[in-house]
């Protein structure tokens, strides 16, 4: 219609234009003060000198980053070699988060697909079922998972009772337990965007492919998957990013051997190590990684949108 061409036709309007600044002011003030400035301060802190037993001395220092990347021996006067301890922790975090993402994808994609192909009336109920556990306190979920997986826990009891195993499987404090915990923490983030993408997908395309002699699995691989790819990528990012900095699952399910970034950072502020600049530096490195991933993702989504 004529108004559509003229006013853009969307719900975005200028009814309250004069009040705009007042409407946005509370959000600006709160978020600048409590979100933006703290992150900038953290960057500053990462370049300060540490105070023993927490806190900082306001003196510029590169010690935090130096400690992260280089080993200079016990007294700090050996020639610098690459320090592997922290890089290994980061690498393990990436690996664990990646494994959890893959696990989420393998289970989340079929689930999302199955839900999206239910009759329209029952879809919300399925979505509801998948999302309820997400709303249960993350700590409680992680503790529950630990309880279930214990050596004397119900899962081992069940498996022994069924005669599948003779002695309890040792699951707590393994990489697998951490991956399962991360999967459990963020699965809805995988399911929901894929679900949304499949729901929008035009199944006439699959029918066209089948009509042109493609098998079902070929149709899935060659027609459906490329169409829903943005949703799949979004899901992977939404699971990978929080998994990377997760604290509870590695802490409760992983134990000391499976130390991840979250625990390393926490230790600098809560534990005995107490090195604030180092914690701030580790946080900065984590944040940088996450922002790079998000930027690549945003660019890709923008490109995908242009193609459609």
């Amino acid at each position: 219609m004529a108004s559509g061409a003229a006013s853009g036709g969307s719900a975005n309007t200028d009814t309250y234009e004069e009040a705009r600044s007042w409407l946005l002011l509370p959000a600006w003030v709160t978020l600048v003060a409590l979100s933006l400035i703290p992150v900038l301060l953290m960057l500053v802190y990462s370049f300060l000198t540490k105070e023993f037993r927490g806190g900082v001395i306001w003196e510029f220092s590169l010690a935090a980053y130096d400690q992260f990347f280089f080993d200079r021996g016990l007294f700090g006067d050996d020639p610098a070699t690459l320090e592997w301890t922290y890089i290994t922790i980061f690498w393990r975090s990436i690996w664990q988060a990646g494994a959890a993402t893959l696990l989420s994808l393998l289970i989340g994609f079929p689930t999302a697909y199955f839900i999206a192909t239910r009759p329209e009336t029952s879809r919300p109920i399925w979505v509801f079922l998948v999302t309820i556990p997400y709303w249960v306190n993350l700590l409680i979920r992680t503790v529950s998972m630990k309880f279930l997986l214990r050596d004397q826990g119900p899962l081992n009891d069940l498996l022994i009772g069924l005669g599948l195993i003779d002695s309890p499987l040792h699951m707590v404090n393994t990489n697998f337990a951490v991956q399962l915990g991360l999967f459990y923490s963020y699965l809805p983030f995988m399911v929901l965007p894929i679900y949304a993408a499949v729901e929008r997908y035009n199944f006439a395309l699959s029918e066209a492919a089948a009509d042109l002699y493609a098998s079902k699995w070929t149709t899935l691989r060659r027609v459906l998957l490329p169409s829903v790819k943005p949703g799949v990528i979004a899901g992977c990012i939404l699971v990978f990013v929080p998994s990377l900095g997760a604290f509870l699952a590695p802490d409760l399910l992983g134990g000391a051997k499976n130390f991840m970034i979250g625990s390393l950072i926490e230790e600098q502020f809560k534990g005995n190590a107490g090195n604030w600049p180092f914690g701030a530096a580790a946080s900065m490195i984590l944040l940088t990684m996450v922002l790079i991933i998000l930027m690549i993702f945003a660019r890709q989504q923008a490109r995908a949108e242009r193609e459609v």
Partner: protein
């Protein structure tokens, strides 16, 4: 029109969005108590003009007067003008009565008085029994009537209707057209109606403004616009027509003599602004033409029948003209006794009623 009040007077109104010009210098006057229609294809600027009168769009240049008072700078809630929106915009969280009473309450009426008056309005549109329903529980036609009652309740000086019938099915639309017309007469309120449906416009309006590409193409009664279209756009947009390219040879005593590309001569009424030597188009309405196997006068055009298209009330015959494009000629089925239907391939003559030909300015 000088002796009647002017309800809305738009002078040199321009609307620009950035570099895009939606309205180019529109001037028109709408008389008190008139059913006035803005007609044109989508994107022609008709809705923009309506929204400028309602106060939802600023006027980039020009003025708008409402009964002599300049309103271009008043916000919509300060203008005694109400709108029936295209999708009705009935407040979904209020029942029908509350919807109708809303405008009155905003004008400072007490809740009781507003509800009482709203009740009367519902009576007027025959929806009294639906007063307690929510808009979602009503049919499209009922919602339409609630929207009308709501807009009329505060007794606006002018009622604006933005394609209010477009969401209704054909039968309901026809019924509502009549109802709207009656309502306008009963209330005596000036109606400005926006539509892209030419039939709707012709049926309901006292006067029609035909718009295209942000410009006013022609303003007149339904008959004037249909029978004496000013230019090709109007001739083509309103109803069906056949167009011929002609050159004007002579103008005398109000008649113009023209010739076609092959030299064949035709005469028709002269039009102001078209002078001797001009190459212009001529419009011939299909229902004012008839076919015979012999030339009835010198003005008959020679051609060959291509096909007949049966359409219920009438038959359209497509004739390939010797000196022009394909022509359509409409024969009413009630005319069958007098008019012969020719088979494809027959050589025929297309004859025209006196005054059927109309020269177009551009």
């Amino acid at each position: 029109m000088e002796n009647r009040d002017i309800a809305i007077d738009v002078k040199n109104a321009v609307k620009r969005y950035g570099t895009f010009t939606a309205l180019k210098q529109i001037s028109l006057s709408i008389a008190d108590n008139e059913f006035f229609t803005l007609l044109g294809p989508s994107g022609c600027g008709k809705t923009t003009l309506l929204r400028m009168i309602a106060g939802f769009e600023d006027v980039t240049e020009g003025t708008i007067h409402l009964y002599g008072e300049e309103i271009a700078n008043l916000p919509p809630n300060k203008r005694p003008v109400n709108t029936v929106f295209q999708n009705y915009a009935l407040f979904p969280h209020m029942d029908v009565l509350e919807n109708v009473a809303f405008g009155l309450e905003m004008r400072g009426w007490s809740k009781r008085d507003a509800k009482a008056k709203a009740g009367q309005m519902l009576e007027l549109v025959q929806l009294t029994q639906f007063a307690k329903r929510k808009p979602a529980q009503l049919s499209g036609g009922q919602q339409q009537r609630v929207a009308l009652a709501r807009a009329l309740a505060p007794e606006p000086k002018v009622l604006l209707l933005d394609e209010p019938l477009s969401a209704l099915d054909l039968k309901l639309r026809k019924a509502m057209q009549l109802e709207l017309k009656h309502l306008q007469r009963e209330t005596g309120i000036t109606f400005i109606f926006v539509t892209h449906d030419q039939e709707e416009a012709l049926t309901m309006s006292d006067r029609i403004a035909v718009m295209s590409a942000g410009e006013l193409q022609q303003l007149g009664t339904a008959r004037e616009i249909y029978e004496t279209p000013r230019n090709t756009f109007v001739a083509d947009f309103i109803g069906e027509t056949n167009l011929l390219e002609v050159s004007v040879d002579k103008i005398a005593e109000g008649r113009a003599t023209c010739h076609l590309g092959g030299g064949h001569e035709l005469t028709c009424n002269a039009v102001e602004g078209i002078n001797v030597g001009a190459k212009v188009r001529m419009s011939l309405r299909p229902e004012r033409l008839f076919i015979s196997d012999a030339a009835t006068e010198s003005e008959s055009l020679k051609g060959r029948v291509v096909e007949n298209i049966f359409a219920g009330t009438d038959i359209t015959t497509i004739v390939d003209l010797a000196e022009g494009p394909n022509f359509s000629v409409r024969t009413s089925n009630s005319d069958r006794g007098n008019r012969r239907i020719f088979e494809p391939g027959n050589d025929v003559f297309v004859n025209m009623e006196h005054g059927a030909a109309r020269l177009l300015i551009d």
